[in-house]
Amino acid sequence: MTGTVERRALTREQLLSVYRTMRAIREFEERVHAEFATGEIPGFVHLYAGEEASAVGVCSNLDDRDTIASTHRGHGHCIAKGVDVSEMMAEIYGRRTGSCHGKGGSMHIADLSKGMLGANGIVGGGPPLICGTALAAKLKGTGGVSVAFFGDGASNQGTTLESMNLASVWSLPAIFVAENNGYAETTSSTWSVASDNIADRAAGFGMPGVIVDGFDFFAVHEAASEAIARAREGGGPTLLEMKFTRYFGHFEGDQQTYRAGEVEHARAELDCLKRFADRVTETGELTQADLDVADAEVAATIDRAVDEAKAAPLPAEADLLTDVYVRY
């Protein structure tokens, strides 16, 4: 247990980096929200704004050996795991220069070279896959861990429950991160999750379950650090339940009549970026000027990404038939 604080202590550079990443997610999502409303973005997008502390708090503890799987609300996890923001934006616009050459779209952005096994259009699709990457890491002895991000909706899906059981039975280096933002589409998690706390299910699957304030970067970072260390040391899987809320609807276009004003309260009182900024300026680890510079840099990056995406070529007709198989 000694050395945990050293492991968890973030340097000035690291604090700036995590702030920048959280800000990048926020800017990216707010921008996609605005651009989607113009009708130029095809299909569906599901925005992560509000939940940044979870993706960044967890992924800032990961390295090249590690893999994550995500959900349909995957932009935050992609950015947190280091997927290129310009390629992501181009993919969302369906362009050839996108992360998936325009063939996946928002719900399927992936970058296996960065250990990002993909956003997933199937609720509960990620956890079984993460059991697999964790198994591979264990058998190869890489020390890598695998993280399955899933929502309160997916916490009720059989694939998730089976995966938690399997991860314990096989003692896999896996972390299950339940992002409980209170809603599965329009349905409240307090109604749909019979045990009320997703973390309470962990005991039933032979692993510790911890509730974490998902609006607090430092709380997430700390809990994730411990879970990841436990996994790397062969201690097996952990379930972390983040409690927070999403700022936008289930998808863009959702009128959200099922909600009752909690977003305003969250943006004003609980916002993870605001709390992070308040905290690090209070301790003097960063100055407001540092943060302002980061904000400006991020804004410019996102602007550039959008401009590039809009100007990028669409896939060619021949691209329709490519990459179904490695070799047929």
Binding site: G125, P128, T133, A136, K140, L166, Y328
Partner: protein, 337 residues
């Protein structure tokens, strides 16, 4: 050097030789060893019908028993494949595909395409299919048409021990997700199989018997039933060409079309239910691309549009037999406008 071994042993040998050659090959499934956590011995079964017997002790740590959690462990095999392993997972009965189909057709099959060519998913999912053991409706289906339909999957159905070993070897070495269908009534079938390792390519049908009068296209166990029918028909002066498709995806269209262009008459034999089956698939192919050569309508010999019945009397009628194939061949042979 070939000697006679069974279909079951041939698959086991392919697995063992590939596991020997490549340490990234791992095996997983329910009771693939057998005995996990139980007080008696490990490798108690080696798979419910013994296909993976002996591998557990020979390759320590690489044969993994699983809980009854198909969506989790089939998904895990797929995930591990994206991370550099070559897993051979067993879906014990293809009838169970319902509980894990998403991982197969929405995840494994689509990664490469959805991720713009950046994913490689070299997973093999072995599964048992077919009627004949009185296992009834939920343990006797074929279902390979459902998988053949999905772009991104390869579907393999060996009919002989020789093919079983060669096609399994290819399946493991193949860099795409492969569904490997093993007919449960063929496990005890013996045949010549070389000792050394060899791989048979996908998308190459096998002409089991040459003949100029009628083409019979069959797959899996129906290949043997078709050969039986062909022998009877030869005695009556009708020479049949029997083609074993071996793989439905990729499909060897050329061999089928070439044969039909020669004979002008086609009977397709498929143990699966008739709607949207391989039988209808081959029939449409021929109607579209060899229409000019056809001298009779295509005849399909398939199971009926029913679940598989339990009683001996009924299951024996359900499964296409040699007599029905003989009748179908005679129909097309004698057909005139």
């Amino acid at each position: 050097m070939a000697r006679t071994i069974t279909y079951r042993e041939a698959i086991n040998e392919a697995l063992a030789q590939e596991m020997e050659r490549d340490e990234t090959v791992i095996v997983m499934g329910e009771d693939n060893a057998g005995g996990e956590g139980s007080p008696g011995e490990m490798d108690a079964w080696g798979g419910v019908l013994g296909v993976t017997k002996g591998l557990y002790h020979r390759f320590p740590g690489r044969v993994l028993d699983t809980p009854i959690s198909e969506s989790a462990f089939i998904g895990a095999a797929i995930g591990a494949a994206t991370a550099g392993m070559r897993p051979v997972a067993e879906l014990m009965f293809v009838d169970f595909m319902g509980v894990c189909f998403d991982q197969i057709y929405n995840q494994a099959a689509k990664f490469r395409y959805m991720f713009g060519g950046k994913a490689v998913t070299p997973v093999v999912i072995r599964t048992m299919y077919g009627a004949g053991l009185r296992a009834a409706a939920q343990h006797s289906q074929c279902l390979y048409p459902l998988f053949t339909h999905v772009p991104g999957l390869k579907v393999v159905l060996p009919a002989t021990p020789y093919d079983a070993k060669g096609l399994m070897t290819q399946a493991i070495r193949d860099n795409d997700p492969v569904m490997f269908f093993e007919h449960k009534a063929l496990y005890d079938l013996a045949g010549p199989v070389p000792e050394e390792s060899y791989a048979l390519p996908f998308g190459e049908a096998n002409v089991m018997r040459e003949g100029g009068d009628v083409t019979i296209v069959a797959l899996g166990r129906m290949v043997h039933t078709s050969l039986e029918a062909a022998q009877q028909l030869a005695a009556a002066g009708v020479e049949c060409e029997v083609i074993d498709l071996r793989t439905t995806s990729p499909l060897d269209e050329d061999t089928v079309l070439e044969s039909v262009e020669g004979t002008g008459r086609l009977v397709v034999v498929d143990e699966a239910n008739p709607r949207c089956s391989v039988a209808t698939d081959i029939s449409a192919l021929v109607a579209q691309k060899a229409f000019g050569s056809l001298r009779a309508p295509v005849e399909m010999v398939t199971a009926p549009h029913t679940p598989v019945p339990f009683s001996n009397a009924l299951e024996d009628i359900y499964i296409p037999d040699a007599q029905r194939i003989v009748n179908a061949v005679k129909l097309v042979a004698e057909w005139t406008r």
